[in-house]
């Protein structure tokens, strides 16, 4: 269907102040939406309480109101501007909440403002725990079994359900004291009795224990014609139990076979259709690492933090396309802004690996509890792209700007073996470095897997990086020798004269290339070789080990790209 021409003016609600879980990504989404709407000839009115954003720049929207994000001020803006529509799903939870309040207060009706994109009823159904569980039951999508227990006899049902292990969480106790994991009816009764006694409300929640399951996310889009697509899937390196905002995330998924990938993709599309979302949506699922069993954990019925990540990871502008869908356009009527030849109705194919690492503020809040779990603590995140997981991870680590340039930091080597095991077992901001240190101290991969539940595929990659590190250290003197020899006389040919130095030359050149392909920084290699960083840089340039640049083009080179962006890597062909 062509664009709805009765929409001439649209009110966009920004996301307000920056808080944990809702930061610059919504500015990015809002700015994209402004552009997308104005391209369609729509006049954009923006209200945001945060002036320190790109979207409030005067050239982004036609009218900008820097006002508090509440019903009173929003009504005044609506009364003055009389927009035809309101687009609520691009301003994070703040924008969504304000739109709901405006609708509930009858203000949208009063001024004849239509809600564009996903209907509010769909948003409520996705956000209300019980309504969502009921919808999942109707469409046959599994949600984790859970029971609310206030009397001991009510434990009969979970005890007899044959689902083990179960987690018991007492309601309203500080820090979850009195909870625990039960593996059989005896344990369940014992833990729940204690929990009931400790709970102020005499209430515990019993739920299937999914810690250790893989956490997988799908970013999906749907238009008014019921065409639905997947933009990207992502796998959390940290299994269930850590908030996805606090998890190291990789795109696309790495350890799922096509059967698993498609099973979860089909479920995600079924859910976006059942909810009737028009625009983008994020679906979180838990997948058993030992079977095809899975559970739907949660749905974000709007552009979210994850959509911003997925957009940058794939080149697919989720906020832009969501805004276009809200104006009535169908996915096959929207241009793929990267290729300019194909349409927005396709699924991006990646030919690289993306790694996201959260950025925690523990350097500023030194006394804060550094353990991470289901409540998000990160205040930002970094994302890196490369041809291998190793290199993307190493790039991301350097981008954190915490004074760490690889898999060693200052604190982890100080830990005792017991402390180290604890840092691997209990998720925290230093776990990545603790795992690397574990490998250095000779821990087995199986041991680290048993402690952390992290998939062996990721652990093997970390092990590979540590073994490369060992090789670099062992060859540190040879690297230094070679740097000295080649750099002493710039006129000397890069090809060695004698056979002995020749063998060494080739081995070191290969090792250096391998290290650069795996993402080691010149600085780290220089530390191992005990030479200045600039010498390593000069050495690899002499050896013609230099980065090249490849495109993020949404289509794995199948089509020519008009407006791609680039990432560096140590592969062969420079684009």
């Amino acid at each position: 269907m062509p664009r709805d021409t009765t929409i001439q003016k649209v009110l966009l609600i920004g996301s307000g102040p920056i808080v944990i879980g809702q930061a610059a990504e919504f500015d990015y989404a809002g700015a994209q939406a402004c552009r997308a709407l104005r391209e369609e000839g729509i006049s954009v009115v923006l209200i945001n309480s945060n002036p320190a954003t790109i979207m409030t720049d005067t050239e982004m929207a036609d009218r900008v109101y820097i006002e508090p994000l509440n019903v009173e001020f929003a009504e005044r803006v609506i009364a003055r501007e009389r927009p035809d529509g309101l687009l609520p799903t691009l301003g994070g939870q703040t924008g969504l909440n304000l739109a709901t309040q405006l609708s509930d207060a009858g203000i949208l009706e009063k001024y004849n403002v239509r809600l564009l994109g996903t209907p509010l009823s769909a948003i409520r159904q996705a956000e209300d725990r019980e309504a969502f569980r009921e919808l999942m039951r109707q469409i046959g999508e599994p949600v984790p079994e859970s029971w609310i227990v206030t009397e001991e006899w009510q434990l009969e049902e979970p005890a007899g359900a044959g689902i083990w292990p179960l987690i018991v969480r007492p309601a309203y106790t500080l820090g979850g004291t009195g909870g625990g994991v039960a593996h059989n009816p005896d344990e369940l009764y014992e833990i729940a009795r204690k929990g009931l006694a400790l709970s102020m409300r005499h209430q515990v929640m019993v739920e299937r224990y999914l810690v250790g399951w893989k956490e997988i996310e799908y970013e999906v889009m749907r238009d008014a014609n019921d065409t639905a697509i997947t933009v990207c899937n992502m796998e959390n390196l940290d299994p269930m139990g850590v908030h996805t905002g606090d998890s190291i995330v990789v795109a696309p998924s790495q350890t799922l076979s096509d059967k698993e990938y498609q099973m979860l993709r089909t479920a995600s599309l079924k859910i976006i259709r059942a909810l009737g979302i028009e625009g983008g949506c994020n679906v979180q699922l838990a997948l058993d690492p030992h079977s095809f069993a899975y559970y739907v954990i949660e749905v974000n019925p709007r552009v979210s933090r994850s959509s911003a990540l997925a957009s940058k990871a794939t080149g697919y502008p989720i906020a832009r396309v969501s805004a276009k869908i809200a104006t009535g356009l169908h996915l096959d009527e929207i241009e793929n802004a990267v290729t300019r030849k194909t349409l927005a109705c396709f699924e991006p194919a990646l030919d690289y690996c993306v790694v996201k690492i959260p950025r925690w503020p523990f350097d500023k809040f030194v006394l804060a509890d550094r353990r991470i779990s289901t409540q998000m603590k990160a205040t930002g995140e970094v994302m890196a792209i490369d041809r291998s997981f190793e290199a993307a991870l190493m790039k991301a680590i350097r981008s954190l700007e915490v004074g760490v340039y690889g898999l060693s930091n200052k604190t982890v080597p100080q830990m005792s073996d017991i402390q180290l095991e604890e840092a691997i077992r209990v998720p925290n901001d230093e776990r990545l470095w603790a795992i690397a240190e574990g490998f250095r101290r000779g821990m087995m991969l199986e041991e680290i897997h048993a402690l952390s539940n992290i998939d062996p595929w990721f652990l093997r990659k970390l092990q590979h990086l540590v073994s490369l590190e060992t090789r670099l250290k062992l060859n540190g003197k040879a690297i230094a020798r070679m740097a000295a020899r080649l750099l002493q006389d710039t006129r000397e040919s890069a090809t060695p004269a004698t056979e002995n130095t020749g063998t060494e030359h080739h081995l070191i050149a290969r090792l250096l290339r391998e290290a650069k392909q795996a993402g080691f920084s010149d600085r780290t290699i220089a530390e191992f070789a005990e030479v200045p960083e600039l010498q390593i840089r000069a050495l690899r340039k002499r050896l013609e080990i230099v980065p090249i640049y490849k495109m993020v083009d949404t289509c794995a080179a199948e089509f020519e790209a008009a407006t791609p962006y680039y990432y560096s890597c140590y592969d062969r062909e420079d684009e």
């Binding site: 997947t230 799922l256 096509d258 089909t266 096959d332 030919d351 595929w457 093997r460 794995a556 592969d571």
Partner: protein
């Protein structure tokens, strides 16, 4: 061990050996799917081809016992950027390298597969060879003495030698001679005759799930033979190679039109196209991947489809009531045909998925409905 990939135009890529040593030769094609290498390796439509995957990390979840699409590896060779040494997945039985080595398949890793893909996109698909033994010059010289991809009847190479049956509940084929020993399943609602030009097991699995017992015939089967067995419907399988080589299958189909409901998949779409007056042409670099958007011209709805084809139907000659029903959104090529009156429809992509999205599985139900109606 060192290995090289040499293309017909003289381009050389260096890498390391993956799987068996030796050399392999075929048409080099790329697939943009990010998962599904086991299905791709065993898909008969890749006969005569060396496949490269654009996704750089391959073999992560290993090889398992279930995801085979035929009984053997069908690709001539395999090209990847990086192959996982140790797989990580609960179903994994062996690594990609072990599997390829055991099946005597020559592969190469460490290749800049994006550079290769860009070359194929610009120049079109071409012949190539992987070698672990030769110099680039020797490999190129050998490549030049070998026949090209066109002009070979690959269907006859991959088709079943003797008919076999696939019944609901079965996990493997049952030779027709032994059918007396197998009790007829009460779940069988329809009997399907499938002309095998390179069938994927998942077509048989999907039919079985809907209560169809399928008899798979060699592609040389006659229409009379099929009509004698009186099936409820006829399925035309996907398959490799140039459809213009398959005049004998086109003839068989012409004789079946009007007698039985017909569904054609991939190569089956092209064969039905020929039977209704159309011709085919070769695409520059084909459609291979799990992300191709296809528009249903009737509903306007777009589906993301799994594709693997190097030829397309030219709709110009279509006659006798056959119409284009689906088109590819990227390049406008024909993706499906539908007859105005007769229960005959075809799709150029893969409703059986495996690998790829399962969005188009509904075509099997449509076929079953056609068979149900034809019975009345």
């Amino acid at each position: 061990m060192r290995a090289i990939l040499v293309l017909e135009d003289g381009t050389v890529f260096e890498g390391e050996s993956l799987g068996a040593p030796g050399h392999a030769c075929g048409e080099v094609v790329f697939n943009t799917g990010m998962t599904g290498y086991q299905e791709i390796l065993t898909d008969p439509s890749y006969a005569g081809q060396i496949v490269t995957l654009t996704y750089p990390l391959v073999g992560n979840y290993g090889i398992n016992a279930d995801d085979f699409e035929s009984c053997r590896v069908q690709v001539e060779g395999f090209i990847v950027r990086e192959a996982a040494d140790v797989p990580s997945n609960w179903r994994a039985l062996q690594s990609l390298h072990q599997f390829l080595k055991e099946r005597q398949v020559v592969g190469i890793k460490g290749v800049d597969t994006r550079a290769l893909t860009r070359r194929l996109r610009v120049r079109g698909v071409m012949m190539g060879t992987i070698s672990t033994e030769e110099t680039p010059e020797q490999a190129l010289a050998r490549l030049r003495t070998l026949p090209g991809y066109e002009g070979i009847d690959f269907a006859r190479r991959v088709t079943t030698e003797a008919p076999y049956r696939w019944v609901p509940g079965a996990r493997a084929p049952i030779p027709v001679g032994e059918q007396e020993d197998v009790p007829r399943s009460p779940d069988v609602r329809f009997r399907v005759a499938l002309i095998d030009c390179g069938v994927k097991y998942n077509i048989l699995r999907n039919l079985a799930a809907l209560g169809c017992e399928t008899t798979v015939y060699p592609c040389t089967v006659s229409a009379a033979e099929i009509l004698r067995d009186n099936p409820d419907g006829v399925m035309l399988s996907p398959g490799p190679g140039d459809p213009s080589q398959l005049g004998y299958v086109v003839d068989t189909v012409r004789r079946l039109v009007g007698h039985k409901p017909i569904m054609g998949v991939c190569l089956g779409n092209q064969i039905v196209g020929y039977a209704f007056g159309a011709r085919t042409y070769k695409l520059k670099f084909g459609h291979r991947g799990s992300n191709h958007p296809v528009k249903d011209l009737e509903t306007g709805r777009v589906y993301i489809t799994s594709q693997n084809h190097g030829y397309a139907v030219d709709p110009d000659g279509l006659r006798d009531g056959m119409e284009v029903a689906h088109i590819n959104l990227n390049d406008g090529t024909v993706e499906g045909l539908q007859h105005r009156e007769l229960p005959i429809f075809t799709i150029q992509y893969h409703p059986e998925a495996s690998p790829g999205p399962t969005d188009s599985r509904y075509f099997f139900s449509k076929f079953v409905q056609n068979m149900e109606r034809a019975r009345r």
